[in-house]
Structures are given as structure tokens and as C-alpha cells.
């Protein structure tokens, strides 16, 4: 409710600004028609007015951007609150259940498993947020060492398989043998886990994800191909922004809007890049990360 109210006032002020600019233009054109014989003075005036108009326009664009960013930030805080509180609520619920009620052996084992899953989820959210903090600060360069990319991919895939209980066929991974890159194994695992996890998360109940690595010239490219909801052309770049979530999907699938930002930052820090490809909504998508071969 508050949200739409704010939207309305923003729309009003933008319309107001546009209105004022048009008034200036009309007045000015009128003035030119009246005083066109004044030569270079007129030219100077035209330039000044154009500058003022440009200034107002830039100002408005900046404002709108800031507002949008602010909204995304709010959404992010909400999402993180939810992602942190839900597993805690669940763990507490089960602990209090165990504390106050007789629970048979089988149920008890079930409860322990659920609590462990929840603590994993909690931990992964915390790590995600902390990692973003570290990457965002733009601080130190990562400590680079020789890393086998194939092993990084395998570790990430296995992690996601365990976390989301995906079958071997559902999340298929193709080993490539040795693929040496220079990198920080921790960051690389985090980035590739994010890609694989996204693919699984957005696929819905019917998971068909393929992960494969290939060498092209001086770099390795890891591709994660899914048959999920796909992405429209305009969104392909935006999804890597911090806090950004594709409108509409955000209410169905939970997330913080940090995962792909981390992927892109890690790729950049390693001298590589990350991008997304999709034939369009409903036709699956491919996320790729490219890293230079170790020399």
C-alpha cells in the first residue's frame, strides 16, 4: 500500500518535471521568434537553456535510478530476513518439539536430518551475504593458486545434489579430465555452486540440468544448461546485478538476489567473465563462466 503511494508521488514529480521543461521550451521558442535578429547573443541563450534542460533530465534519471535501487534494497532486506529467520524458526520448532514431546526413534532421526538441512541453508545464506560484503568492498586480490577446475565443478555439483536431493540423471555432469586455472578454490566453488544451484532451483520439480566444461583457446568455459523458465532478452544482463531479481519470478522462487552478482564478481577477479544465454521465456537458459587457463 505504502509502496503504490510512493510510486504515485514519484510519477507525479516526474510528470511535473517534464511539464516544466516543456513550458521552458515553449517560452523559449516564443522568445526566439520574437528576437531572432539578435545574432550571437541568441545563440548563447540557446546553448544555456539546452544545458539547463540536460541538467534537469540527468538529475531526474539519477533520481529514478536511486529510487529503484532503494526499492531493490528493501526487497533484499526482506528476502534475507526471510532466508535467515525461516531455518531458525524451523530448527527451534523441532528442538522444542523434542524437548516437550515423546518422539519415537524414526521420527527423531527424521527431525535431526531436517534440522541439519536447515542449518546448512542458514549457513549458505550467511556465507552468501558475507561473500558479497567481501567482494563488494573490492578489497584485496584473491590469493591465486593452481586449481583443477574439473574438481571445483565436481565438488559444486555434488554439493547441490546433496542439498536439493537431485538424482544423477537430473543433474548431469560431464568430467573433462584436467583443467588447470589460476584461482581461489573457495571462491570458484562458491560461484559454480551458485550457478548449479540456481539452475536446479528455477527448474521446478522436473530437474534437467547439464554441466560441462570445455576449452576454447586460452580459456575454459563452464556451462550450466537447464530447461527451466528461461530469461527474456532484456533481463539477460540485469540478472547479474546485485539484489536484482526478475520481476514476477521473485515471488515464486525465494532468493536474495546475490548469487549471480557473486558469480560475476568472482569471474572478474579471476580475469574471466560470466554471462547468460536464453532463447527466451519458457525455453531454458544457459549460464556460463569463462576463466583463463593457468600458464
Amino acid at each position: 500500500m505504502e509502496f503504490t503511494g510512493r510510486r504515485k508521488s514519484i510519477a507525479f514529480f516526474i510528470a511535473f518535471g517534464v511539464g516544466l521543461i516543456s513550458v521552458i521550451l515553449v517560452l523559449y521558442i516564443g522568445w526566439i521568434l520574437l528576437a531572432w535578429r539578435n545574432g550571437w547573443l541568441l545563440l548563447l541563450g540557446v546553448l544555456l537553456v539546452l544545458m539547463i534542460i540536460c541538467g534537469i533530465m540527468l538529475n531526474t534519471i539519477f533520481l529514478v535510478r536511486e529510487i529503484r535501487r532503494n526499492e531493490q534494497h528493501d526487497a533484499f532486506i526482506n528476502a534475507v530476513t526471510h532466508e535467515l529467520k525461516t531455518p531458525v524458526a524451523s530448527i527451534r520448532l523441532y528442538l522444542q518439539t523434542l524437548q516437550t514431546r515423546p518422539v519415537d526413534e524414526a521420527k527423531r532421526a527424521d527431525f535431526y536430518r531436517i534440522m541439519l538441512d536447515d542449518s546448512d541453508r542458514l549457513l549458505s545464506t550467511i556465507e552468501q551475504v558475507l561473500r558479497t560484503g567481501r567482494l563488494g568492498a573490492g578489497s584485496h586480490k584473491p590469493e591465486l593458486s593452481r586449481v583443477d577446475l574439473d574438481e571445483v565443478v565436481r565438488t559444486s555439483v555434488e554439493r547441490v545434489r546433496n542439498l536439493h536431493r537431485v538424482t544423477l540423471e537430473g543433474l548431469y555432469y560431464e568430467p573433462v579430465g584436467s583443467a588447470q586455472v589460476m584461482g581461489d578454490p573457495d571462491e570458484l566453488i562458491a560461484a559454480i555452486t551458485n550457478l548449479v544451484e540456481n539452475a536446479v532451483k528455477y527448474s521446478g520439480p522436473d530437474v534437467h540440468v547439464m554441466v560441462h566444461t570445455e576449452r576454447t583457446g586460452d580459456s575454459f568455459t563452464v556451462r550450466v544448461v537447464d530447461r527451466g523458465p528461461g530469461i527474456s532478452k532484456e533481463e539477460l544482463k540485469r540478472v547479474f546485478r546485485r539484489f536484482y531479481r526478475v520481476p514476477g519470478i521473485a515471488s515464486r522462487i525465494k532468493g536474495t538476489g546475490l548469487g549471480l552478482f557473486i558469480v560475476r564478481s568472482v569471474a572478474k577477479r579471476h580475469g574471466g567473465r560470466a554471462w547468460a544465454e536464453s532463447e527466451g521465456p519458457g525455453r531454458g537458459s544457459t549460464f556460463a563462466i569463462e576463466l583463463p587457463v593457468a600458464k
Binding site: 530476513t81 529467520k85 525461516t86 531458525v88 524451523s90 514431546r101 531436517i114 515471488s251
Partner: protein
């Protein structure tokens, strides 16, 4: 045995709630989305005594589900359970029509106590209604201008024809008839008939009135019984000729 509908999309929490509520002796039904819950409550095949509603749901959120239910005239006792514990969120919840609101993480004994409280209140209410002397005997029929309203059967008889009324339509008519001749504000109707305290959406009432006029007016475009009082609301006149 009380039946509880739990709307929660987080599987772990939902299962934990189910285990505990069943241990308390309640019958529990789980659904993952607000849409499913609304469908389940609409058909009413299996009536529920209590609704536990999460806010952050895929699709329609808990607030939307809550206010839709209340606008539909379904007043099932509802406890909202959510990770959003800001004062604003709590107020939103109550404004949408929730009876109680508990932020996550919650204390299990407190949750159980609140559920018991809501169910107990429902039982007390049910018990107290026949106990109180029916002071102003609720009118079961009302006749005006050759038409008769049967509140008990939810029917309107016009000559030979019989129109079925919904419970809400009957309640609105009854409310206006009890105050026949006096103007009644939209806000009062929302509060007294729907039990809602909102400044917004009084237009829902206008649609209602349009529908009612179709039943009781011979010419709905020139109403004689259900009159609009500009800037206020509506007025019922049973015998326009005499006034």
C-alpha cells in the same frame, strides 16, 4: 475434533507444525499456496475451525489471501505466522482481518496456547449466542411493496418469482431495513456487516447495492426503495408513496 488448515510453503516448518498440532489432537491439512487455501475454503466440503497463514507465499501473499477471505464473508479464526515481525507488518495483518499474528521464530508452547485461545473463543461465542435472550428478535421475514424477504431461507419473493440471496446480500438488506428511513454510511456498513475496518474499497458496497436494486426495484435505474444519499451512503424506504 477441531480441524486446522495450515498454509505454509516451507516444507520443514509445515511438517513440524503438523506433527505438533496432531500431537495436540487436532486434525491438520497442509497446503502450500494461498490460492489452494482459498479454493479449499470456498468449496467448504470440509469446514475448518482455524486457519494458520504464512505471509511470504509463492503467488498471492498472506495479506492478500486474508483480505480476500474476509471480503468474501468468511470469518474463520485466523492466526498469521510470519518471518516479518515489523510493527507495520503486524498492523497490515490485523488490518487484512487476522485474529492473531505471531512472528517467526516463535515459541512452540505460545503458538499452541494461542491456537487454543482462538478455538476456545470460537466455542464460547457459539455457546453464548443461544444463551443470551434474543432481545430484538431478528426479523425472519419482511414484507414491503408486494415483495417479501425471507432472511431465514435467504430468499426474496416477488409475486410468484423467487430470487436466492447470498448471506452477505441478506445481511446488507437486513441492516438497511433495521434502519429504514435513516441514511446509513458506507463505512458503517463495511464495519457492521462485513466486520472490516478499512477506509478503502467502499466501492465494493456500491456494487452490492447495484445488485440488490436489480432484485428489489421494478426499475433499477430509478430506485424507489434503495436510495443513494449523496456523500454518505444509502437509505432504505419501505413505502415510498407514504413518505
Amino acid at each position: 475434533m477441531s480441524r486446522i488448515l495450515v498454509v505454509e510453503d516451507e516444507a520443514h516448518l509445515a511438517e513440524g507444525l503438523r506433527f505438533n498440532l496432531e500431537a495436540e489432537g487436532y486434525q491438520v491439512e497442509l497446503v502450500e499456496t494461498g490460492e489452494l487455501a482459498l479454493d479449499l475454503l470456498r468449496t467448504g466440503d470440509a469446514p475448518f475451525d482455524l486457519l494458520i497463514l504464512d505471509v511470504m507465499l509463492p503467488g498471492k501473499d498472506g495479506f492478500a489471501v486474508m483480505s480476500e477471505l474476509r471480503h468474501r464473508g468468511q470469518f474463520i479464526p485466523t492466526l498469521m505466522l510470519t518471518a516479518r515481525g515489523h510493527a507495520d507488518d503486524v498492523l497490515n495483518g490485523f488490518e487484512a482481518g487476522a485474529d492473531d499474528y505471531l512472528p517467526k521464530p516463535f515459541e512452540l508452547p505460545i503458538l499452541i496456547a494461542r491456537i487454543r485461545g482462538l478455538l476456545r473463543r470460537r466455542e464460547w461465542l457459539a455457546a453464548s449466542i443461544p444463551a443470551t435472550p434474543p432481545a430484538p428478535e431478528p426479523r425472519e421475514t419482511f414484507t414491503f411493496d408486494g415483495k417479501s424477504l425471507h432472511f431465514d431461507r435467504l430468499e426474496l419473493h416477488v409475486g410468484e418469482e423467487v430470487f436466492p440471496l447470498t448471506l452477505m446480500e441478506a445481511n446488507v438488506l437486513r441492516y438497511l431495513i433495521e434502519r429504514a428511513g435513516k441514511p446509513v454510511s458506507r463505512k458503517a456498513m463495511l464495519e457492521e456487516v462485513w466486520g472490516l475496518h478499512e477506509d478503502t474499497d467502499t466501492r465494493a458496497i456500491d456494487n452490492f447495492i447495484v445488485r440488490l436494486r436489480r432484485y428489489i426495484e421494478s426499475d433499477p435505474t430509478k430506485p424507489r426503495h434503495l436510495l443513494t444519499v449523496r456523500g454518505v451512503g444509502y437509505r432504505f424506504v419501505s413505502n415510498p408513496g407514504a413518505a
